[in-house]
Symmetry: C2
Subunit: 161 residues, 2 copies
DNA sequence: ATCACTTTGTTGCAAATGCAACATAGGAGA
DNA sequence: TCTCCTATGTTGCATTTGCAACAAAGTGAT
């Protein structure tokens, strides 16, 4: 009867766990900010716009908001307004959805394709620069540990030019 | 004369680097969100409030905004308004600064101390829960690699109850 | 003292965000 | 069919944010 029972006791994070927490917060913010700044300085919109365009291209076919929201890890109302803004800029097009009249299908416009490609020309080197302090071997190990931390078994690379 | 010269060529990130980028973005967002949600569900304000209070406690003495802004990695105008809101809630106090009449010194109130302590009771187990998928050995290695990625040589643990 | 320049912090305004309420379609069972 | 429940998006409103402009104090040179 040392343990109170079934409930996991509320634990204080060990020192190594606290170190991960601090490092993860600082480093992710730092590299994220570095890349976002590079895009902004080049006159481009923020990374989330790129990601929407890229996911739509990857899908290869007009896609419903809900099917974007999951991989983007974004709330429905956030995506709703993000898409509105992108549509206003002529980057995506809404197509009526026959099967389900609630939603619509999203597709990049020619301008959308062009923008994503142009952004990649800044995004790619900025990413490389922000992450240059680890070599490929360390990068693989880091990615493995991060994915384990996040409960992700195996992922194909989701970013590509 | 194979190389064009001094300038580093704009590189496409290698596959391992892209994997780190994706994993870092996803996992940091995921665990961050998990902890923030735990705090919100418990009726507490967001993590940045905790961090301000904690940095003020750590300093052990009334501290100027600019000396907080650096460790917090936050813009001056962001801190300015964050402190305003916290002051309105009676969590921090502004003290006139004799040496430099531009600024002021910040100090937690009794209510501020109490709130930080109460938040830690939620924060700590939430952090532990969010990071439970790696053991201490992996956590140390992960922290080491993250700090290397961020160009941080060695850090003492900045979060504590 | 005066001038220019830097440091430190704030603020007006437009844009973006979070939340909760809403709208509407789909689906399952009576 | 009708009703109820769920799924999918959107929107009104208050709060928060980003940016650029501003303000005021310190610093240093002449």
């Amino acid at each position: 009867m040392q343990q109170s029972g079934l409930k996991t006791p509320a634990r204080i994070p060990s020192d190594p766990v606290q170190r991960v927490w601090v490092a993860l917060g600082r480093v992710s913010q730092s590299v994220q900010c570095e890349v976002e700044t590079a895009l902004k300085d080049a006159g481009f919109p923020e990374l989330s716009w790129y990601t929407v365009l890229w996911e739509l291209e990857r899908a290869g076919t007009p896609t419903r908001p809900k099917d974007l929201a999951i991989p983007l890890f974004i709330l429905p109302y956030q995506l709703s307004r993000l898409v509105d803004r992108m549509e206003k800029e002529g980057l995506v097009r809404k197509i009526a959805c026959k099967e389900d009249k609630r939603g619509h299908l999203l597709e990049p416009t020619a301008k959308g394709y062009a923008l994503r490609k142009a952004m990649w020309a800044i995004y790619a080197p900025a990413m490389d620069e922000a992450l240059k302090r680890v070599n490929d071997k360390e990068a693989l190990e880091l990615a493995r540990l991060l994915n384990k931390l996040g409960g992700i078994e195996h992922v194909d690379c989701a970013d590509k030019g």
